[in-house]
Each structure stands twice: as C-alpha cells, then as structure tokens.
C-alpha cells in the first residue's frame, strides 16, 4: 500500500521577516505529495560464519571495490563472495569497531574506546592512533591532510600531520560533545552534526574556528545524525525526529524540507548524495530517494529474496556503480533508482503490459490484460494508477497501442474495434473504425506530429487529419505505393519524416505525398519490428531474428550476439541521447550510438527474462523510459549511468616461478623465469558468483579465453614481449579503460643475445688470427731452420770434400804406410769412422756430447798424425755431461777453426781444451795466429751460433783474450 504523505516546500530568503511570511504562506498551501513504493534491484549479503553474530557497525568501499566492514568483532573485507578479516593489531583487546573510513587506499577504523587504527593499504600493517576514550563516530581527512575524528562524548579530535590529536569539545565552543557525523564542503568547512545541532569548524593554521549554526531558530530538531553535501555544495541534514532538510550553506537558508511524517517518522541514520538523488536511510529500515530534478520522494521496497537491512546504519557509494545499504545484520547493494521495477499496483500483480505512453502532462498510461490505466507522476497528484477502461467494459477488448496527439487527446489502438479517442480531461471518448473510414479495425501502431496522425492497421495505413474537430481518414496501402500492408511501427523522425517498419519490405518513408522504400540488398530479412533515429541521423532498426542494424548513408552495421546483444529477436529500439535502448526477450541492452559499445542490462544485474512486448516502450522526452514486460513494467533512467556499471578488476599478485613479484613497473624476466601466474579479483556485487573473466596473453594466445577462475598460469613461455590482458567476460569493447593490461618481457638466454653472439664472433676471429700468426711464425722458423740446415750441410759437404784435409790425410797415410803400416790401418779406420760419422750425423739436429766427443777425438787423431805434438787436446768432460746434447760437428768445426787460424808446431804447440764450466761446454785454445792466415768466411762460428739458437734457443759465447780464444757452448738438456 502506498501511503499519502505531506511534503512542505519552504523557500527561504535572507530577509527573516519576509521569510517568516513566506514560510507561513507556504506551509498553509503545503503541497501534498505521494510516496510510491517500487522495487529496485537489490542484492543482499547475509554475513557468513566469519562475522556471524558480530553485528556490523559501519562499512565503506575502498578503491579496489572491496567493502570494508567494521563489526563488533574486528574489521572484515568483503568481495561479494567471502569475508576475510583484516590484520588486527595484536596489542588491542577491544575489537569493537564503530566507524570505517576509506580515503584513497587508506583505511581508518575507529573503535568504541577512542582508538583509531590506520591501514596505509588493506594488506599493510596497521598503526594505532589514540584519541580520548569515547567511541569514534566519524572520520574524515581535509585537503590539508588533517585528520578529523568525531567522538561520542568528547567532541572532536583533530590530528595535524604527525602531531598528537587535539581535542575540541563543548568546553571549546562545540554545541555538544556527542558528535554523530562530519562532512567537508568545497570551501574547507567541516560540518558536524551533534546532539545539540549543527556546527562548522575550520583549522586556521593551529587554531580552530568554530561557528555554531542557529539551530533552535532554523532547524526542526536538534539531534543531527546524518549529513551529506550534494553536487551543488548544499548540505542535507538528517534529524533524529525532524526528517531531512536541505540547507544552503552560502546563504544560511533552508531550501527544501522533507518532513518527518513523509519518511514515516523515521530516525534518519544516513544520507547519501549520488548526482541528483539524495538517498535517505532510516533506523527502522526504510529507504527513500529524493530526486532533486523531479522533486519526487520515493520509498523503495525490497523483494523477499533480497531484503533490506531492518536497521539501516549507513549508506555508501559503490565503485562499481550503485550504492550500499549497511545494516547491523546484513548489507545490501543496490543499482539505484535508474532501473525500477513496477510489478504490482495497489497490491495486485500488473501482469503483461502491451503498450505504454508517457503523456505531456506527466502521466503514464499503460494497458494490460485487464484494462487501461493512467498513473500521474506529478508530485501534486495521486500516484495511484487509475483504471480508465476495463477490458470488460467493451466485451473483452484488447488494447494494442497508445498515442497522445497535439491537443492532448489519447488515441487508443485496439484489435477488432478500431481506435478510441479519449479526452482525459472530460473522460469522453469516441470509437473510430472502418465505418469512419479507417482502413481496418485492427490497429497496430499510431504515431504523428501536430495535425498529421498515422495509424497502421491490418489493412494498410490510415492517414488521419483533424479538421475543425472532425477527423478524416485517408486510406493508403500497397496499391498506393506502400511496400507492405503489415506495419509493425510508425516512427516520426526528428525531421518529421514518417517512417514505416514493415513486415517483409523493410523500411518505407512518406515524402512528397508518396511512399518511398529504403532498399538495401544487404538486409536479407525484410521484417522490421522497430526503428529509431539518433542525433547524427543514423537509423537504428530491429530486424526479425537478425538483431539491430545501424544505417547511416551507405554504411550499414549489424549488431548481433558477438557484439554483446542478449538475443537476436529484438522487440523494440529507442533512442535516449547517445544511447540506443535495445529491448529483447531476455534483457535490455544499451548501445552507445557514438562508439557502438554494447552494455548489457539483464541477468548480470538480476533483471531476469523480461519478455518485453513488441514496441512496448515509451519516453517522457526527459530521458526516462518505461518498458512493458510480462510482469509489469520497468522504468529506465540515465542510460549513461547504467552503462557505467562495470565490474572492478584487480590484479592482486603476479608470481614468477611461484615467487610473488612487484608489478608496478614493467617486468623483465630472465629466460628461465618462464613460469608466470596471475592472481586477480573481479568485484561485481549484483552477481558475484557469475563473474567471468576474459583473458588473453598477447604474444602467446591468439584469442581470448573465458574463465571463472581467479588465477591463470603460463608455463614455458618463450623469450619475447608479452601483454597480459584481463577484462570482464561481458565486455565486447577491446579498448576498454577498465581492463587490466600488464606488459612483461622474457629475455633471451645470454647465449642468444646480440652482445654475446658478437663477442663470440670476435673471439673466434681473434683465435683464427692468432692461429695464423703462430703458424706463419712457425713456418718462417722452419724455413729458417731448413735454410740453416742447408747451409750447414753445404759447409759440411764442403768439409767432406775439403781437398786440403783429404790431401793432408792422404799424405799422412802414405807416410804412415811406409813407416808404420800397423798404425796406417788404424788411421784409415779412424778416417773412415770420421767420414761415416759425418754422414751419419748430417741429418740429425742434436747428438750426445759423447758421440761428438768421439768425432772430435777421431778428428784430432787424424790431425795429430800430421801435427804430432804440435796439436794437443785436453778433454775433460764429466761422465754426467756426456749424455747431454750438442749440435753435431760443433766441436769438430771449432777444432778445425783452431787449426785453420793458429800455428801448430812442435815449438809452439796448439792446445785445445774442452771442459765444462757453469753449464757451458767450453772450447778454448791458446792464441797464436798464423802470419798469413787463411781467408776467413766466419761461416763456421756463425753456423754454430745459428744452430744453437734454432735448436736450443740458446746463445753461444765467444771470448777473445790476449792469449786465448774461448767459445762457450750452452749444454742442451735432454727433453
């Protein structure tokens, strides 16, 4: 039942006496206005075992969309599915939370003992601020980041920066120390509602400025329990028993009064301002909304399934859209009054609504199975629906469509009975049917502008004109150029052109006295149910089972299921500013006419199978639409606000190889950090269980995949750049601003990175270069050795065939044969040994000193036969040195050199000494040069020195003293 309440509008001026006069006048002629009771879309959450029996005391939503609940037993975080407790300081025994305030990511929780807990962020460790010992009732931060704390018994505490909270109570000028609520206005005043009225305070540096309002003179009650500032910076005050008033803080006047009676004498516990709406919650569990545009106060009922809390404590805005009603036993989310469901009228089910009409006098006309009803939406009138006609009045008549003409007459289309034209002022009506010239008695649609009215019937179109009170019908049908006789809808476009949505031949329009057909071969099905035209001139029309088409010039776009439409069988389309309202059997979709983005309004907000009637839609031209459904009708306001209802997505954790990583910045990962998982939440209070996500990893996935899970993992990701994209599943717009996107890259392993490859190539090139260098050096070396060898061989060969040596040897031999034939034989043996040795050692690089010694001894033996005692050899080589190495023929050549350059005679014997000193094999001889020496080529010594250098890497030392010539040969160790 709707109750009739009184409402007083008071306009106050600055002039007090004039104001009093006006007040008296206005109270005398106070408006009577009515509170309607409609259903809103609510979603109620009962506490689970976590907070069962803990009595909720306060709540607020944080930017991530979590509802932070303060209870008598701690702080809880609610995401629509579960409650989880916030970390509570261990040092506190009192868990009795009395207020929750969220500002940015910060959360403040006030306790009943005056303690204040602050969380930088819901996951962070809390800090404690101590005020007095009275319960904290409200908290706010001002733009200077001062913290204002209202208490119940000790007035205000103000905490400036890091300082201690300063107390300001009744002793400091507050009207009372019991403060209920705080609000801050745009000019920096903090308004406080107390047990003794309203006060405003401001911090001027370190001093508080307190101004108490004229409470007793101006306000209906002293106890102010709720305050809220609206968009225009007007303060709405909710009283304990004085209803609600709107207070102009600039002029200090009262602008609007909502009396206590009009809210059923409820104690106002909380106020909330959302755009033009002021929401009022009362202690006894009633929810009201005052619309500042229409001036209507409405009371809303909840369904049994989703009841409102019986004791409402607080209202707070929700970040997904809509708001929360917080009660001590439950919390209820509501979409707000943009979608209202009217299923009952005067306590009776309305049933199926076929047609609706919002007339120019702010009445809503609708017809159902029972009759035609008219409901006034003016606050000055009764909001009861008045039955204008019952279907029984006219032998079960069926009303099909409604239309209001320029004179305010209501045209009612019927089946079988033509059209009824009703004068709503007088109640007189008249039937017009085939007898009056109407083409057929079955009327489907009526539309028109000024004096021109079009009626579509089963027999074609009738064009009605009013002439001095009389109505003349002109009959037009297929024969007169109309494409089809069956017209679902006649639509008068903003340019006054009349359009006809036909069953079979698409769209037709009437221009210059004839029908034209809009031909478009791209549209296969020609049955058009409904059409409309947007501000840009584009035509939007619903084709049977093919969704909605948008036609502008030559560009045609079809909207189907893939674009997000709920069904292809669209029953009506209508335009509201920039939104096309598309009604189908299941739900109402909104298409943004500029972007083509589709917003679903259906199951996702608990609006079930609406089964809307064909073209059962009307608008009052002020953005309010009414849609007829199988169970009553739905009122739709602010499509742009409805389109903003969106889940809030949060990325809560990113784990790499099971380790959580920070994801504030771009993530760069090593090649083996390729197991990545993402944890996320989706806040969607209307139906949290149905929250589905759409996920795509750009760089890996080709297409979106859909999930209900709250986490996703990727393993063995190849190196590359990736973008993780997360959207809610209903989203059809790729460039959505509410989607989550996170870039990260996995680096290639170092051996695949450019610098490594370059470095490797450089190193390889260097190695090759060095190799060739060494090889070249070796080759040169070898070349040199072979050269030396050749030279040595050459000199040896020369020695072998040294004719002097051979000649001298032979001379000695001849002498020996004659004198001492025995020695001659051994001489020849030695000679042959000597030559064999030369041949034997010719190709050898190094021989043992022992072998060389034998060679030397042979040579000296041969020469001693010639020089006799003129040549002496003193050999002193220790046994351990004998097996060391020496280039072959070295000693022999040195001995030969000695003989070559020195005199060797009996008087002056040449003495060659061979001994070991300091790791050197020393060959020395006494110096007695020949008077006419043989021409020296110096080849011998040079050859020896080169061979030492090449084969042993050592140098020989040549010393020449006054009487000695010494050659020191380094001893070569065996390898």
């Amino acid at each position: 039942m709707k109750s009739v309440q009184s409402f007083q509008l008071k306009i106050a001026t600055q002039n007090l006496s004039f104001r009093r006069f006006l007040l008296t006048l206005l109270v005398l002629i106070s408006f009577q206005y009515f509170v309607t009771a409609n259903e809103l879309i609510f979603r109620t959450y009962e506490p689970d075992y976590h907070i069962e029996g803990k009595k909720i005391t306060s709540a607020n939503e944080n930017p991530q969309g979590f509802l932070i609940l303060g209870t008598r037993g701690g702080i809880y975080l609610f995401d629509g599915l579960q409650y989880s407790s916030l970390h509570f300081p261990d040092s506190l025994k009192n868990h009795d939370i009395t207020n929750i305030y969220c500002q940015g990511n910060s959360i403040w929780a006030g306790l009943s003992n005056g303690y204040l807990i602050h969380y930088e962020e819901y996951k962070s460790e809390p800090t404690i601020i101590i005020t007095g010992n009275s319960a904290i009732t409200d908290i706010l931060t001002d733009p200077e980041m001062n913290l204002w704390i209202a208490t119940y018994g000790e007035g205000l505490f103000i905490k400036q920066g890091d300082g201690l909270p300063q107390n300001y109570s009744a002793k400091d000028g507050l009207p009372d120390s019991f403060v209920y609520t705080l609000q801050i206005d745009s000019s920096g005043w903090v308004w406080a509602g107390t047990d003794a009225g309203l006060v405003r305070c401001r911090m001027n540096e370190n001093n508080i400025e307190i101004q108490v309002c004229k409470n007793k003179e101006m306000f209906p009650d002293l106890i102010i329990q709720a305050l809220v500032l609206d968009q225009k910076n007007q303060l709405w005050i909710g009283f304990n028993e004085g209803g609600v008033i709107c207070y102009d803080t600039q002029n200090e006047t009262i602008k609007i009064v909502i009396t206590s009676e009009s809210i059923n004498n409820g104690i106002v516990s909380s106020l909330l301002s959302i755009e033009e709406n002021i929401w009022i919650a009362t202690n006894d569990g009633s929810l009201y909304c005052y619309n500042q545009k229409s001036g209507l106060l409405e009371n809303f009922k909840a369904s049994k399934l989703n009841p409102l809390p019986s004791r409402m404590l607080k209202l707070c805005e929700s970040n997904i859209g809509g708001f929360w009603v917080v009660g001590d036993d439950k919390v209820t989310w509501s979409v707000g009054s943009d979608i209202e469901i009217f299923s009952k009228e005067n306590g009776k089910e309305i049933g199926e609504v076929h047609a609706l009409l919002a007339d120019s006098k702010n009445n809503l006309w609708y017809c159902n199975e029972l009759g035609l009803y008219c409901k006034s939406m003016n606050k000055s009138n009764n909001t009861y629906s008045k039955q204008v006609f019952s279907t029984k009045d006219f032998n079960k008549i069926f009303f099909t469509c409604l239309f209001e003409d320029a004179d305010g007459l209501i045209w009612i289309g019927t089946f079988d009975r033509g059209v009824i034209i009703l004068n709503p002022e007088t109640g007189s009506f008249h039937f017009y049917d085939e007898k009056n010239g109407l083409s057929n008695n079955n009327v489907l649609s009526i539309a028109g502008k000024n004096e021109e009215i079009w009626l579509s019937t089963f027999g074609g179109v009738s064009h009605a004109r009013k002439h001095s009170g009389r109505i003349e019908f002109e009959h037009l049908n297929q024969k007169t150029g109309l494409g089809n006789n069956y017209i679902y809808q006649i639509y008068i476009a903003p340019d006054k052109r009349a359009w006809f949505a036909t069953d079979g031949t698409g769209l037709s329009y009437f221009e210059n006295g004839r029908f034209e057909q809009l031909q478009d071969s791209r549209i296969v099905n020609k049955a058009v149910y409904s059409m409309t035209q947007d501000q840009s001139g584009a035509l939007w029309f619903a084709v049977a089972d093919e969704g909605v088409f948008r036609l502008q010039g030559d560009s045609l776009r079809q909207f189907g299921l893939a674009d997000g439409l709920g069904s292809l069988s669209v029953t009506s389309v209508a335009i509201s500013d920039n939104f096309v309202i598309v009604v189908n059997n299941h739900r109402i979709d909104l298409i943004d006419a500029r972007t083509g983005k589709v917003t679903q309004t259906g199951e996702n907000i608990d609006l079930h199978d609406i089964k809307a009637g064909l073209n059962a839609i009307t608008s009052n031209g002020k953005g309010n639409f009414w849609i007829g459904t199988q169970r009553g009708y739905i009122s739709l306001k602010n499509p742009s606000r409805i389109a903003k209802l969106k889940p809030i997505l949060n990325l809560t954790a990113v784990k790499v190889n099971l380790q959580a990583v920070s994801f504030d910045k771009n993530i760069v990962l090593a090649y083996n950090q390729n197991y990545i998982s993402f944890d996320f939440t989706g806040i969607w209070y209307p139906r949290p269980g149905d929250m589905r996500f759409k996920i795509k990893l750009e760089g890996q996935d080709l297409d979106w995949f859909y999930t209900r899970d709250h986490s996703v993992s990727y393993s063995n990701l190849a190196p590359g750049n990736y973008t993780f994209l997360l959207q809610d599943a209903s989203n059809t717009d790729a460039s959505d601003e509410k989607q989550i996107s996170l870039h990260f890259s996995i680096l290639k392993p170092f051996w695949k990175r450019w610098w490594f490859i370059t470095a490797t190539i450089v190193v390889i090139l260097l190695i090759i270069k060095f190799y060739f260098q060494i090889r070249l050096k070796k080759l040169k070396h070898e070349q040199q050795i072979s050269h030396e060898k050749m030279e040595f061989e050459y000199s040896n060969l020369r020695n072998q065939v040294n004719p002097h040596f051979l000649f001298n040897s032979f001379s000695t031999l001849i002498a020996l044969i004659e004198s001492d034939s025995k020695n001659a034989v051994s001489y020849v043996e030695k000679l042959s040994d000597y030559f064999r040795s030369i041949l034997q050692y010719r190709d050898t690089e190094l021989i043992s000193i022992f072998e060389e010694r034998q060679l030397l001894e042979n040579y000296i033996f041969l020469q001693q036969k010639r020089y006799s005692t003129g040549l002496q050899l003193l050999l002193n080589i220790p046994a351990e040195t004998q097996n060391k190495l020496i280039p072959p023929m070295t000693l022999q050549m040195l001995a030969e050199n000695c003989l070559k350059h020195n005199i060797a005679s009996k008087n002056k014997p040449l003495c060659i000494e061979v001994f070991v000193a300091d790791n050197y094999l020393v060959v020395s001889n006494n110096l007695q040069p020949k008077n006419n020496p043989e021409v020296s080529t110096s080849l011998g010594l040079k050859n020896i020195s080169e061979r030492y250098r090449l084969f042993a890497g050592k140098k020989i030392l040549i010393e020449k003293t006054q009487d000695k010539f010494i050659v020191k040969l380094p001893i070569i160790q065996r390898q």
């Binding site: 047990d195 007793k216 002293l222 106890i223 304990n240 028993e241």
Partner: protein
Amino acid sequence: MSLCCRIAFVFLFLFCFDECNTLIAQQNIYLTENARVSFTSDAPLELIKAGSDKLQGAVDVEKQTFIFILNNATFEGFNSPLQQEHFHENYMESGKFPRTTFSGKIIEPLIVQNGTEQMVRAKGILDLHGVKQERIIKAKIIYKDNLLIINCLFTVLLDDHHLRIPKVVSKKIAPEINVLIEATLKKEPQK
C-alpha cells in the same frame, strides 16, 4: 525521604557528574519528592503489573542532566507472591543486578518558568539487568511552584537487555514492557 538520605543522594549525583562546585550546582538541582515507576507486560496469557514508589532521581536544570535510580527489590503489586519471586529470581536477577539506572542529558533546553509544560527528550544510558543501552526517551515536564512534574511512558525490549524468558512461559510475558514514570521533583533548598 530522610534528610540524611537526601544529602547522600546529592553527593551521589554530584559524583556521577564529576562536578565539584557543589554550592552553585545545588541551586539548580531538583530532587524527587515522590516518584513512582510502574510497568505492564501485556502477554497473551497473563497481564503482569507492578510498580515501585521508591524511585529516586535528580535533574540539573542548568546543566540539563539527570539521573534516576531504582532499587529493583522495591517492586510490588504483583498478581501473586510466586510471580514476584519469578520476577526477581528468574528475570531481573535482582540479587545480581540490584539497581536500575537511567542517566544522561536533556536535549531540549528546559524552560524554567512557572506554569510551563514542555515535551523534552532525555538521552542517556539505561542500565537495566547489567546491560547498558542508549535510549532517547520522551518526557513531559511541567514546571509549577518550584516543582518539576515529570511524566513519561516508554517501552523496554526484553531482548535489548538480555532478559531471557524460558520458552514455556513466553506466552505469559510480552517481549515489550511498557514503563510509566510519574515523578515530582522539588528544588533542593540552598544551605
């Protein structure tokens, strides 16, 4: 009420409100001359009625504060002695919680003028059965010949004060108890 008792009461009152400036405060304090509290529980099967005229109270008209104290044992006028016994032992637990108090402040400014009659709201803590509840109770105050005549009717929800009723007798006790207070307070003469 004996003088001794009165003085003790004044001190109790002053103690309650943490006020030491006794001389000034006394001028505006009204103490109960005679006061009666009565209640009715209108249950489907039984109507319980009882009352006590031993209600003591004080109102400070300048500070707008008040206190009322009742000894629970002083209730009388039950239908039967058995009912009285049940009342004290099973429901009120008078042995455990001997007193009921209501103290707080008066919201509306009191007009102390001979012959005025006004409706005020008394906001305070009702301490009944050991459970403290904040209540706003409306009262009619008549000021006449230096007397304050207070009349008020309010209800107490048994559930609010954890007054549990056994299921067997739930039809005999109403969940809502109507309480009527009629009190006459007289200005404490200056010493």
